[in-house]
Symmetry: C2
């Protein structure tokens, strides 16, 4: 049966009634712009070969012919013809499909402290390397929950970089390709002491912020030093539910972050909570240590502080956090635009040695899509 039950057109638009009862009304310019023919699109990589300015501003539909699996549209002026596969048109029609945003909170599984009573998202590193289905489910956990734990990673220095190369690329920074997390004499960053650290995201003073962080545990014999993770999208969602004005304030007020030491001076101006054009959360930042001097107008400042305090209070709620202790050979891989991390203070005796590194989300999402396309 033809998937189209009826169609009609005029110069401006094509109307399609689909056999399943849905209908589409497609503008002539959109149709011409989305022509899938080899003269308009490179068939190998899908790149568009024409510019919007190549299309006449008064482009219209001159004729339409329906076939079993395709529809042929003749345009005027110019006489260009486009043949559209009906299934493509149905799948891509803007009346019936909304564009996906896989960084948005809407497609994610938001979680709190009790969400993982059946265990944390976890994968053996051997399986991650050897079996596509395990790699796929581990990367899906990062997409959906914002983190995954890998077990059985060799306790060798630099191994964290080899893990990144399995799904993406290392983002080198002024801290090096990787950084050591252990107690240092005269540390330039509080991370390199044995103090506890509150829930934070790394490097908000960096634009672009690294989208992924890995922490690989090579040694762990101290008392304390437990890791804490918290879903920043859930925290933002909680803030919005408890006080929409506070939420809006943190989305639409940009503030400055800064980190400087003897070799770097990193600054950014960004909001705590970044939303897309549909007001959906796509990125969060929080790091009390590196918020630079607030130079907001006095009235804004008066409204900003209660919103900031409210958000900070949510980020301290133990009910929203998961706590676990990384053991030697474990690695946590988490979305640094979503999942906050913290650690409890640890004893001066025994040793604790992690190696950390950054990567970007584009590589991981691309690897995941390639694995999903194999299904």
């Amino acid at each position: 049966m033809n998937p189209v039950s009826h169609f009609s057109f005029d110069r401006e638009k094509l109307h399609i009634d689909w056999a399943d009862g849905a209908s589409s009304e497609l503008q002539a310019l959109w149709l011409r712009d989305h022509c899938q023919m080899p003269s308009s699109r490179n068939p190998d990589n899908g790149q568009r070969l024409l510019n919007i300015t190549d299309i006449p501003a008064d482009i219209g539909i001159a004729d339409v012919k329906l076939d079993d699996a395709s529809i042929l549209i003749e345009f005027t002026p110019g006489g260009h013809s486009s043949e559209f596969d009906l299934q493509w048109l149905r799948d891509n029609c803007y009346c019936l499909n909304r564009q996906d945003d896989d960084r948005s909170e809407t497609g994610k599984q938001l979680w709190h402290g009790e969400s993982f009573s059946d265990g944390l998202p976890r994968c053996s590193y051997r399986d991650f390397c050897g079996l596509a289905e395990h790699r796929r489910s581990a990367l899906r956990a990062v997409r959906d929950y914002g983190f995954v734990l890998l077990d059985g990673v060799d306790c060798k220095p630099g191994e964290v970089l080899r893990v990144i190369n399995r799904f993406g690329f290392v983002r080198e920074t002024n801290y090096g390709p990787l950084f050591e997390v252990r107690t240092k004499v005269n540390p330039t960053n509080l991370a390199f002491t044995n103090l506890g650290l509150g829930c934070h995201l790394d490097n908000p003073y960096r634009d672009p912020v690294p989208g992924l962080q890995l922490l690989h545990c090579l040694e762990s014999s101290t008392t304390g030093g437990e890791s804490i993770l918290q879903d920043g999208f859930m925290a933002a969602s909680t803030l919005r539910a408890e006080n929409p004005e506070h939420f809006a304030m943190l989305c639409h007020t940009w503030i400055n972050f800064r980190f400087h030491d003897g070799s770097a001076d990193l600054r950014s101006r960004v909001p705590f909570i970044e939303v897309n054009d549909r007001e959906e959360v796509v990125k969060v930042r929080f790091n009390n240590r590196s918020i630079d001097t607030l130079k907001l107008p006095a009235d804004t400042l008066r409204q900003f502080y209660p919103a900031y305090r409210h958000y900070a209070e949510i980020l301290e709620r133990a009910s929203q956090q998961i706590v676990f202790k990384l053991t030697a050979g474990e690695l946590m891989l988490f979305d640094n635009t979503r999942v906050l991390h913290a650690r409890r203070a640890y004893s001066a005796s025994g040793s604790r040695h992690l190696q950390g590194a950054y990567s970007d989300l584009d590589g991981l999402y691309s690897s995941l899509r390639m694995l999903e396309a194999e299904l």
Copy 2:
């Protein structure tokens, strides 16, 4: 003479009349939050040691004492005392200072095709490596104009990566640490043909987008193949001046970009023009080849297309572009969130070989700030 001519306070705020006639009114909570004492801030790296939730919500000022170069504030409840350097307070007071945003159009030198009649921003690579003042002025050109040309870079493969290491870090992607730009058999990307390419920014389908691009010319004996650069901030500014509704449409409508080949599937959802909370342009994207299917609501789409066409028309105006031919040993370094590039078609005879690579803006800006701090 004391820089403060008069001060007064109540529980909520401190009022300062400065000797030069300016005045500040500083909220108690801001003062406590910005305490510069070693118990509140790490003196070595400036990191804040307290959380906003550590400060009582009803914090107030109990007493204030003025000294020659500092002011001592006692807070209540809690009794914490903060001594502020008067110069620091003056320089950081939110009444008298607006937070800087060095990515925003406001601090930049916008340019068009006739702006560089005295020559393009240019630096010998030998001086760039050897002399801080030359490196500083070259990096300033990238900050202010969005690009600089380096002359006399060794025509050796991989040299482009060594150039990056002089000011920042390589952003490796699925194209590798660097990519070759020359005519290929069966290219997966139009960049690797001898066709002309319209003005575009690279990789809008990547989130985060690489902030810097380098193109290093190793061979150039073809006819044609001239490079074109265009200031995207100027183009956005022109669009805003010619039609504020079109400008707003492109700032507040997010669209999808995509690139896929046999090894990667990269997608993003972002606007053409990104503005900060003050509606200042901070980032632009444009690449007709990789705009994914537009699935906007029908009404939005109807308004979006004229704005998109208008912007594309501005990006084709020769009056806004500079044209030059890269010769062997030249390298262009440009801000890929601001400066569009294009190239003219070139002959099949002769050879043209560029090597390109990406980096991020954070490293370059940090290096520049360190060089400026030496002044």
